[in-house]
Symmetry: C2
Subunit: 303 residues, 2 copies
Amino acid sequence: MIDLTLLGCGGGMPMPNRFLSALCISYKGRKILVDCGEGTQVSMRICNLGFKTIDVICISHIHGDHIVGLPGLLGTIGNSGRTDPLTIIGPIGITEAVKGLRVIANWLPYEINVIENPKDTVLACNDEIKIDTLEVEHSSPCIGYSFYLKRMAKFDVDRAIENGVPKQLWSKLQKTTEEIEFQGRIYTPDMIKGAERKGIKVSMITDTRPIDEIVPFIKDSDLFICEGTYGDDKDIEKAIKNKHMTFREAATLANKANVERLLLTHFSTAMDSPERHISNATAAFSNTIIGEDRLELHLSFKE
Amino acid sequence: MIDLTLLGCGGGMPMPNRFLSALCISYKGRKILVDCGEGTQVSMRICNLGFKTIDVICISHIHGDHIVGLPGLLGTIGNSGRTDPLTIIGPIGITEAVKGLRVIANWLPYEINVIENPKDTVLACNDEIKIDTLEVEHSSPCIGYSFYLKRMAKFDVDRAIENGVPKQLWSKLQKTTEEIEFQGRIYTPDMIKGAERKGIKVSMITDTRPIDEIVPFIKDSDLFICEGTYGDDKDIEKAIKNKHMTFREAATLANKANVERLLLTHFSTAMDSPERHISNATAAFSNTIIGEDRLELHLSFKE
């Protein structure tokens, strides 16, 4: 239902054997991109992910490894024939950064709408996916993202009959959130719907220290994508100094927030084999996956 | 003597199978980089070319495929421990472009000296390589580059004796361009030197139409690196419209300018197999090489 591609899993600098950390979320033919380092558009191309259908580009923060590829991608999106406006979300400073970078991408055949450090939910993918943000703690203003696809409550035939809803309104009430007046009486959607059902929640947190506010923000995510810049517990001092996390810290957040799965990304260039350190994560949260370039995951509603 | 690496050979957009056109010139441990598209630093890394020893970055023009990688590279050069100033040369607009791009690379541990559309020769690699520029004809201000390594004239023992130069001055006069006063008489370097010898000349022209001014500028190059965006002669209309060249046009310039070798680069993304069209180049200039990512060439003084 929601297709996710981890376009890269590296931090710091683009490397021959590792693309920079970025995520593509595809839903019903539309896309959300999270971060855009040098090479992100190449990784998208390898995966045959089209450029024309990107609704929103979410930038975590204005460090090169998360944004250098943006002006090139904007040009490539232009070459794809896009004319619909594009939204870019980012932390404080994103407006100035986009303005600066557009010195090399000044003419584009579509408008760009920049939302700086949003306080309200942003809608994407035909307004079906809600994007929320959280200010996190890095060496420059940085925001984490959560993406939520709502699930309609199931139609409950017993409830509809119990509430005396005429049959001809059943289908209409299922598709709307508004009340319907019919033969002098008001009918509301909840009269035919069963209990609320959980939608799909994906959260992505990079780059930051593991601050407490992250736990409620990522709570109950089906997939929590989190930076794990350092795999070795011994690198905790580096993690603190550089405002990053170890695998264990990321996994501890996953555990506290009761997420279903943790996907680690944004590995230090000094860490050749992140999988060697997986036990440091699984000790705190067992359902952990080590990111790989172009790893694909598919999330569906639970029965 | 001079080591050249064609870091990529593509134009327009970075592709999974082709890096963007860029050149690294290495001489006595120092480097000149020409163009810096998205991925150029990755290609440099694949070749184990270090970042700390780049003296000058030459940008042909301010289109994404030639400059998107610049802020990332500046950061990587910073991470390499460099503190010496770095020179960036480019066409009109380069100062503003570098300023704009530095919104994402604002703190660097070295100074940047930008030379916009230089009219005078710029020296690089311990002042041994002369860089000259030529304004060419593209859809935005664009400059071509030539690189010249001077060769010392050979020591001519007969001439030294003929001119009555004392033996103890022979070595000194060989190493200087200035006159030496000795026992009341003036000695000049030409008194001990034979005929001038040709140095090594490399020129790089991309992106442009094949204007007449290019011929004297690239004259007698040992290596002429030239854009050949289109291989097929039938694409001449596209070449004219997009201000590029066909293989045949590039080769005609090579022929007129009496260069020794032509290396084609900056291939259109639509051209999968540039080598299929080589006969269109060799018909005008036989000593033509089709560029490949990370093709290495080594140029030495001729005997």
